[in-house]
């Protein structure tokens, strides 16, 4: 593998507090401070004038559908979509078929990752057996098999007592719990946010109270047990406020926001377009603004996509019957730059931080920095390039994106994993 010499880039690495135009050197898969003049002669040069070079993006919330639903996505296609979006490390949710609740399934997934992934793919395990919310999964064996967190994402452990035991048990292994916060008893049949828009459309609403109640529960259990609970895809203003107060008290909770919840509101469901059907649902403008403010003041720690592929024919249905979820990996950076940097005056480095150092730190991944000696996972992007996103031409097996056909600004040019270019100018090179 040749050394790489990336020149003239604006290098943004929040982890090492670097934000300046300069060079980036890679040798033997690692970031190095410099190359010898002999190495420089042999190095492959990438002129990155006008581009930002940042650590490869990290997404701790994706659904790659393998095993079981490989018609929607596989680890291979999902990892390619991730590479095209600038991501070099992603974390898969365990709601596959079968669900990832045994060491054997984890091993099977790890084998597929080793065989087919072009970026670093990490695996989570279930909190409960079969994700049924009734008995603890073999969390110790899952940890030994290599999971980096446990979650019943897509579902939510409803029993407070079982969740309490999961917290206590997982803490023994220093495993974080990630939770999709949803009180099921309040959301039976719900397909969008409950409010004025659902009233007009005659669709069953999912009240934000159902999220807020579980966020409160988790704050209480994290306080009581000392376990780390990470709240996934926070969507409501009240939840942001609950987390803000909990964090001020030093409770070990963290939380994520998705690009779609900072960009869209429930008004988008107005034509029953199933590309806006997701869980938790798109909420109101007030919620959207609260989430952006939560990201600004650190109440919400990171951005994550909840990349959830479904085939065209699955989404091509009555709104009530279509599955929840949208793609996210290939549009996440552009959408976040638009909403946070251009519309809400975030610093570019802050958004990079939300996608790199912070998520890596949250799950203790060896990623998210361009420091000397770090793995050479790099994302090169043009923050201003305008492009029209064609979901059907993307790398995911599915194309269920609300941004299909829209002009986006900010485009990933090159993705490097361990010093190897895996994506360049629209093509996977892995």
């Amino acid at each position: 593998m040749p050394s790489l010499w990336i020149s003239n880039a604006r290098v943004i690495d929040p982890a090492s507090k670097r934000d300046a135009v300069g060079d980036l050197f890679i040798s033997n898969g690692k970031i190095v401070a410099s190359l010898s003049s002999a190495e420089k002669k042999k190095a492959k040069k990438i002129d990155a004038k006008g581009l930002v070079a940042c650590p490869g993006l990290v997404d701790i919330h994706v659904h790659f559908r393998e095993p079981g639903q490989m018609h929607k996505e596989t680890i291979e296609t999902g990892s390619r979509a991730a590479a095209a979006g600038g991501f070099t490390s992603v974390v898969c949710m365990p709601n596959t078929a079968p669900v990832a609740d045994t060491a054997g399934t984890i091993q099977q997934i790890k084998d597929a990752i080793a065989r087919t992934a072009c970026i670093k793919v990490y695996q989570t395990g279930c909190i409960t057996v079969g994700m049924k919310g009734q008995a603890l999964a073999p969390i110790g064996s899952l940890k030994r098999a290599g999971v980096i967190a446990i979650t019943d994402d897509g579902d939510c452990v409803q029993s407070n007592d079982l969740m309490r035991r999961a917290c206590e048990y997982a803490k023994m292994f220093d495993l974080p719990l990630m939770d999709h916060c949803q009180d099921h008893s309040m959301t039976v049949g719900a397909v969008m946010n409950e409010g004025v828009v659902s009233t007009r459309l005659g669709l069953k609403g999912w009240p934000n109270a159902a999220e807020d109640i579980i966020v409160s529960r988790n704050v209480i259990l994290a306080t009581y047990t000392g376990a780390h609970i990470h709240m996934q895809h926070i969507s409501s203003k009240a939840s942001v406020e609950l987390l803000r107060r909990a964090k001020a008290r030093g409770v070990s909770v963290t939380a994520e926001a998705t690009p779609h919840h900072i960009a869209l509101t429930d008004e988008a469901c107005g034509t029953y377009d199933t590309h806006f059907k997701m869980n938790p649902p798109l909420r109101t403008e007030e919620d959207r603004i609260a989430i952006i403010e939560g990201l600004r003041d650190g109440t919400l720690d990171i951005l994550a996509t909840d990349h959830a592929p479904h085939t065209d024919y699955e989404k091509d249905k009555e709104f009530d019957y279509a599955p929840n979820g949208i793609l996210g990996l290939e549009t996440a950076l552009a959408v976040s730059l638009e909403i946070l940097v251009r519309k809400n005056k975030f610093k570019l480095a802050t958004v990079v931080d939300l996608f790199t150092r912070k998520p890596a730190q949250l799950l203790k991944l060896e990623a998210g920095t361009l420091a000397d000696g770090a793995p050479a996972d790099v994302c090169l992007f043009d923050p201003n390039e305008k492009w029209v996103y064609d979901a059907k031409a993307g790398f995911s097996k599915s194309s269920n994106s609300p941004w299909h056909g829209q002009e986006l600004r900010g485009r990933v040019k090159t993705t490097i994993v361990d010093g190897k270019v895996v994506f360049n100018n629209g093509k996977i090179s892995a």
Binding site: T199, R200, L201, G202, Y272, D316, E318, F319, D320
Partner: protein, 313 residues
């Protein structure tokens, strides 16, 4: 202005003028229904498919009758006989109907938005006969048609809709039409079934029956479904009736000339006492008759007819 819509999906999207056109056309058809030969050749040679994926006897009979009065051929499919129960998608079912050379499709479906979805897929007119809790536009049209027959202009009139508003497509369609006519609409019932979010549709939300009914010109009752009780929306049918059932005493709070409406089927003794349902102020059976005329108007206009040429049709 000529009629230009191909589909009838919602009353929310119709202009006041369009509702007027439908009502005027319905009035002309209603005269025809009074003749000894109740049939006109307006849609002769056309085939209308009634795709009723959610059970309904009344609305389906009314659409059937309306289509036959216009000399159309009618095929009715209900939920149990349609292939959607065998796992076929709505898209496939609808495209098959179109491929069988149907000229128009009338759809009743439990999923809100499904008529709009079909209108984007199909090249033939789609008529919404009720989609989930969203809209029931022909019901809203026949209800407002009936009100105008009795009250003339609806501007400034007080219309009370009483009962299960949250899940009611009838309420939504009526609210959209009535607010366009300038009526003052009050929705009333238990707070679980009449949430505040409806204020965004331009209505007054009340949980006090007496103040709601006082001087009302119309009270429209909605059917109370037993399932709502088991879903925890209210404690019991008895308690509902005790608080919100329309009886003689409560009806006395209304404007003396007020009309009492109900889209049917009625739970006698639950949302309304029998003597009121059958009393002089009740227009419940007129609603049924008007339902044919209004549906004739809708089928006729959406298949390309024009309001002014009805009588010659």
């Amino acid at each position: 202005m000529p009629w230009t819509r191909r589909h009838l999906l919602t009353l929310e999207e119709l202009s006041l003028h369009e509702i007027d056109q439908i009502h005027a056309t319905a009035a002309a058809f209603k005269k025809i229904l009074g003749r000894s030969v109740k049939k006109v050749p307006a849609l002769r040679g056309k085939t209308i498919v009634n795709l009723f994926l959610e059970p309904s006897t009344r609305t389906r009979m009314a659409f059937d009758m309306a289509a036959k009065r216009l000399s159309a051929d009618v095929i009715s499919l209900d939920g149990s006989s349609s292939s959607t129960t065998k796992g076929e998608t709505l898209r496939d079912t609808a495209q098959n109907i179109e491929a069988l050379q149907a000229d128009m499709i009338v759809i009743r479906h439990s999923a809100a938005g499904s008529p709009l979805y079909l209108s984007k897929i199909l090249g033939i007119p789609v008529i919404n006969a009720g989609d989930g809790s969203h809209e029931h536009p022909t019901q809203g049209l026949l209800d407002t048609f009936t009100m105008r027959e009795h009250l003339g202009s609806l501007k400034g009139r007080k219309v009370v809709i009483l009962g299960d508003i949250l899940f009611s497509r009838v309420a939504r369609s009526n609210i959209h039409a009535l607010t366009k006519f300038g009526a003052n609409v009050t929705i009333v019932g238990p707070s679980t079934l009449v949430p505040r979010t409806f204020e965004a549709l331009g209505v007054t939300v009340s949980h006090d029956l007496k103040s709601a009914l006082s001087d009302a010109d119309v009270v429209m009752l909605l059917r109370i479904q037993h399932e709502r009780q088991t879903a925890g929306m209210f404690p019991s049918l008895g308690e509902y009736t005790g608080l919100f059932g329309l009886n003689k005493t409560r009806a006395s709070w209304l404007n003396p000339k007020a009309i009492i409406m109900h889209p049917g089927p009625i739970n006698r003794g639950v949302e309304i006492d029998s003597e009121l349902a059958d009393g002089n102020n009740s227009v419940i059976l007129e609603q049924v008759t008007n339902g044919i005329a209004v549906r004739m108007a809708v089928l006729y206009l959406c298949s390309g007819g024009q309001p002014e040429s009805v009588v010659s049709a």
